[in-house]
């Protein structure tokens, strides 16, 4: 998909976390394998904290090391991504910046790449966001919990923007997993397929619920996303998320519908997010009822438009009714 290549060409952190959202659903097993492998890496790295433990005896780390060496000479990032994408059990290491990383076992903690370390730091920083806001202080506190000096925050040239974008990418990948899981359930016949409107409603609600722990500071995060140098990345995340939701909703359209549907869902999502920011009802009930109403509006509009247009051009609007 086009968004797949856009993900590769852009910000390096997103290569790791956003890759699943851009991959087709038949690789959904691969996504979960990657997620498990990422968790395993986190556990390994925590246990391998003393730098001289390069001779750790766990077999998974040695296979990682071999795989890492094998991909060290890849010159094209796309090639390495596709190669490693076919091996679900292994990590997806990025092309390393320097070629000497695998020469000796001295760099014990360097069995991961810089981007993976950065995403680990940002994940650790998320728990300090309620305290420090979306800022470099939160990243510094996150780095310190990993045992790194606070000076390592200098790696994040975009500062707070890196943290927010990392969080958004993380939420998107979680959403994709949930949707893929549901899709699998439906395929296996264990669950009933939902109507489109319900599906959209639940997908948007699930996605927005991920903001609830950070809702106090979310206005700050939104303002960071609107900074000019962050707009391309935030729009890319938004569009890939909306694309995923529509894909799992069953949309396979190839005409103007593709654009109108995504534009509509983007509008619904953004307005609901804004409502959520100032919602004080228990468990955000007002927000979800607002969401219901908006989706209902769209359904009504689509069906009435269809009635009007059906005589002229039967193929124009489809998929939103029922």
């Amino acid at each position: 998909k086009q968004s797949c290549l856009m993900g590769f060409a852009s910000h390096k952190v997103l290569k790791i976390v956003a890759a699943p959202s851009a991959v087709n659903p038949q690789c959904s097993n691969l996504n979960r394998g990657f997620h498990r492998a990422a968790l395993r890496l986190q556990d390994e790295s925590k246990s391998d904290k003393p730098p001289s433990s390069s001779s750790s005896s766990s077999s998974s780390s040695t296979t990682y090391h071999e795989h890492y060496q094998a991909t060290e000479h890849d010159t094209a990032a796309e090639a390495s991504q596709h190669d490693s994408a076919s091996d679900p059990a292994a990590e997806q290491p990025e092309r390393p910046n320097t070629s000497y990383q695998d020469q000796s076992g001295e760099h014990g903690e360097e069995y991961e790449t810089e981007e993976q370390l950065q995403s680990r730091i940002l994940t650790a920083a998320l728990e300090f966001v309620p305290l420090h806001g979306w800022s470099m202080e939160a990243i510094a506190a996150g780095a310190e919990t990993l045992g790194l000096s606070s000076a390592s925050t200098g790696m994040f040239y975009n500062g707070a923007g890196d943290l927010v974008l990392h969080f958004i990418a993380h939420c998107n990948s979680q959403l994709t997993e949930i949707l893929a899981e549901q899709h699998k359930q439906v395929q296996l016949g264990q669950a009933e397929p939902k109507k489109t409107a319900d599906f959209l409603r639940e997908a948007v609600e699930t996605r927005l619920r991920m903001y609830i722990p950070y809702i106090e500071t979310w206005p700050q995060a939104m303002s960071i996303l609107l900074l000019p140098h962050n707009i391309p990345d935030s729009l890319k995340h938004l569009s890939s998320m909306v694309d995923d939701i529509w894909y799992y909703a069953g949309d396979r359209s190839t005409d103007m519908n593709w654009y109108t549907k995504r534009a509509v869902l983007t509008g619904i999502y953004n307005t609901t997010e804004l409502v959520m920011l100032q919602d004080s009802s228990p468990d955000f009930q007002d927000t979800w009822s607002f969401l219901d109403n908006r989706i209902q509006d769209v359904v009504n509009m689509a069906s009435s438009a269809k009635q009007v247009e059906s005589r002229k051009n039967p193929n124009l609007i489809c998929g939103l009714e029922t």
Binding site: N97, T98, M136, L148, S149, S150, A151, G154, M155
Partner: protein, 311 residues
């Protein structure tokens, strides 16, 4: 004019016991720790630039700051401020400024941290409501626990450190500042001590740059940052010709007029030309073991700021 030191007065490398004779002068407090490596042979020292470099800076120490302003037309302040801005130190960070001489970077570092802390306090005061007595007492206990940021200025040359100390006294800055005599190729510090290592306009004077980089890697904590400000290659041909003309014709003249020392500033300009360019230096930093190495060109390449992380 400044005082010239009499001949025959040798400097004490008192970390290497009995290596050189020296005068007993006012000792500047140092971190005394036995060296891990065996002391080097005397012949190695006489073959390198250290005595010459030492003499150069010994001669110019008193006028160092004035000369910096005159030669760079005051732009060196902008460069040093840019270094701090890129560094963006967090409160509690420990800085080691090697070849720090008169302490410019260390003063700016402490000021930056002080402003950061004030800003944080203001933000915390604004957001918190009237704290209860429990909260106030908790705040008192946590204030002492948080690490205070510290700046250590290390230089091979005692004269430069003396000038720096005088500056510190006149500015009234004393908390969190230490002055240490030491050689960049063999730092008198333990491993994993510092968050940030800076060397501003000093690394070209080091004989074995790779050793200095290795030492930097050693004393930095994991996650620590290495930052180096140094003169570098100007790529733009027009700017390059202006810069060359200015360097070779104006700077020694200024040196003679203000500091009375043509040769030292001739040496300065030549050492700038001999220093590797941005990409080569970046390669050297990566070879030493730093990651995420990046450089920023300031003033069109006249000065380059290199940064690397120990990960």
């Amino acid at each position: 004019m400044f005082q010239r030191r009499s001949r025959g007065q040798k400097y004490t490398f008192w970390l290497r016991d009995g290596f050189r004779d020296g005068e007993s002068e006012e000792r500047i407090k140092s971190y005394h720790r036995p060296h891990r490596r065996s002391s080097m042979q005397k012949s190695e020292y006489t073959c390198d630039h250290r005595p010459r470099v030492y003499k150069v800076f010994e001669n110019v120490a008193q006028k160092y700051d004035i000369m910096n302003d005159a030669m760079s037309l005051g732009i060196h302040r902008v460069w040093k401020d840019a270094l701090l801005h890129v560094m963006h130190p967090q409160p509690g960070a420990q800085l080691l400024d090697v070849a720090g001489g008169t302490g410019d970077i260390a003063f700016r570092f402490l000021e930056y941290i002080r402003l950061q802390e004030e800003r944080q306090k203001r933000r915390a005061a604004r957001s918190s409501q009237t704290p209860s007595w429990q909260d106030i007492s908790n705040n008192y206990s946590t204030e002492d626990e948080s690490r205070e940021s510290r700046a250590v200025v290390c230089d091979i040359n005692k004269e430069m450190l003396k000038v720096g100390k005088q500056k510190a006294d006149s500015l009234g800055v004393s908390a969190g500042l230490s002055w240490v005599v030491g050689d960049a190729e063999e730092l008198p510090f333990d491993d994993d001590q510092f968050d940030i290592y800076t060397i501003a306009f000093g690394i070209r004077n080091v004989t074995h740059i790779d050793q200095a980089l290795q030492e930097a890697l050693r004393v930095l904590k994991p996650g620590g940052r290495f930052m180096c400000l140094e003169f570098s290659k100007v790529n733009n041909p027009i700017l390059s010709s202006i810069y060359d003309a200015y360097s070779f014709q104006m700077i020694p003249v200024i040196g003679e007029v203000i500091a009375g020392d043509w040769k030292s500033y001739q040496y300065l300009v030549e050492s700038i030309r001999k220093f590797p360019n941005q990409e080569e230096f970046k390669g050297m930093i990566e070879d030493a073991g730093f990651y995420c190495v990046k450089y920023y060109n300031l003033t069109g390449g006249v000065v380059a700021l290199h940064s690397g992380f120990k990960l």
